[in-house]
Amino acid sequence: MSDLIVVERVGKRYQTTSGPVEALHDVSLAVGAGEFCTVIGPSGCGKSTLLGMLGGLVAADGGRVLVDGRPVTAPDPRRVATVFQEAGLFPWRTALENVEFGLELQGVPRGQRRARASELLGPLGLRDFAAKYPRELSGGMRQRVAIGRALAIDTQIILMDEPFGALDEQTRMLMGEWLLDIWRRTRKTVVFVTHSLHEALALSTRVVVMTARPGRIKSVLELPMPHPRAMESAEMTALRARLWGEIRDESLRAMGER
């Protein structure tokens, strides 16, 4: 099976007021269809930049990014959907109207997209909130709407950039369980950026650890165990220790830079 997403030796350099900054250096990665791949690393390691490249929002300096065999040059809403950390809901649209945004851009007729968006509200747990505006929704609900918006366009790949970052821990854990449920039902390919070890271990089939800036792939952990996972088991505890070991050094290094 050829990989759905292929990243070959990409780099990214930014010009800042204090000189050039290398965000990514020689990063290569492959993600197969149906995987839940988590990218984890310290702040500033370039994971959001990497995700941006997969989504066609950021251009790579050197190297290639391929999705479904084709090079990525611009956002492709037929193949890739993105969920951002700030939900990015349009405040003048209701929850339902936000969910159907992607469909609207693609010219899907009103009746059809209404129906599709409404269908999604059930699994999103938002059926009673269809007509509410974002300011009337909690943080968790807003992220669910954002995820619903991504699901609505029915892409094979969903990219998520720390979608639960702004939520409190309990909400995060519940959202993680919920997301897992959606993933297992829809069989989409998810690339998920996070800070959280718990999320990485509880959700993913593969964890990619990045170094501090300039970001490189430090290591890749395969997690073939079935879901849902018993996080207190010996196996998971050992994995957690190993993962933390990988990340800790990088986090220290990132902090030292500041």
Partner: protein, 250 residues
């Protein structure tokens, strides 16, 4: 009504009544020259006398203001979006916009009158200029301040440039446009009145000017009150409209 609100209302009512009573008393006692400070009763009577001509003048002013207003809102929003949304334009043109915006437009009024003559045309042109710049600056700022995430989201979902403008930018700046419209009406009215005072043959500005020249104090006060009340009413109406349309903002 809370106790404090009651006190507030009483204070307001009492102040107004006390002011009117004192004013009437002072005028009647002859402590002020009725030529300069007419009694409230005289002003009230003057309302009836000037009624028809004042209303005609008001109507004329409001008509010119309405035309100037529509022009300044349309042009202000159009240019505001155009300049504000294209970074290159915005960076290069900003100082020009700020400079012209900060310049008191009254300085070009005599020149406009020289070119366009007396009457309706200069009033509409000047009124438009007066309202255009505040709206332009406001909309430019509003466009610049649109949440970047929303633009990124739209691009991530494959929005074309047209879709970006139509589905993201324009809805996002609705509060700014409303604020601009609220601001613009006062500026347009102000501009029209100034032209009417400077070089008018009709309209409230001209009416006020001639009443002052003719030393007709009671009529002048009455007419001033009429214009003020109309202006406050218009602004209140716009504010209410503004509130109704902003329900999603909270």
């Amino acid at each position: 009504m809370s106790a404090e609100t009651l006190r507030v209302r009483l204070l307001q009512a009492a102040s107004v009544l006390a002011l009117l009573a004192a004013w009437e008393g002072v005028a009647r006692a002859g402590w002020v020259d009725p030529l300069f400070v007419p009694a409230p009763s005289a002003v009230a009577r003057a309302f009836a006398r000037i009624g028809p001509s004042a209303l005609a003048g008001l109507g004329d002013t409001l008509f010119k203001t309405a035309v100037a207003y529509v022009l300044s809102v349309v042009l202000g929003v159009l240019f505001g979006v155009a300049i504000g949304s294209v970074r290159a334009l915005r960076e290069v043109l900003s100082p020009f916009v700020v400079a012209v915006y900060g310049m008191p437009k009254i300085l070009v009024l005599p020149w406009i009158v020289l070119i366009l003559g007396f009457g309706t045309a200069p009033a509409i042109v000047y009124g438009t200029i007066h309202g255009f710049f505040p709206i332009l600056v406001l909309v430019m700022g509003g466009v610049r301040d649109v949440d970047r995430t929303l633009v990124t989201v739209a691009r991530a979902f494959g929005a074309s440039t047209w879709q970006l403008y139509w589905k993201v930018l324009l809805p996002a700046i609705v509060p700014t446009v409303l604020a601009g419209m609220r601001l613009g009406i006062v500026f347009c009215l102000l501009g029209v009145l100034i032209v009417e005072m400077f070089a008018g043959v009709r309209g409230m500005g001209h009416v006020l000017g001639s009443l002052a020249n003719g030393f007709q104090a009671p009529e002048l006060f009455a007419a001033t009150a009429l214009v003020s009340a109309s202006s406050i009413a218009i602004v209140l109406a716009l504010d209410t409209l503004n509130d109704r349309l902003s329900h999603w903002r909270g």
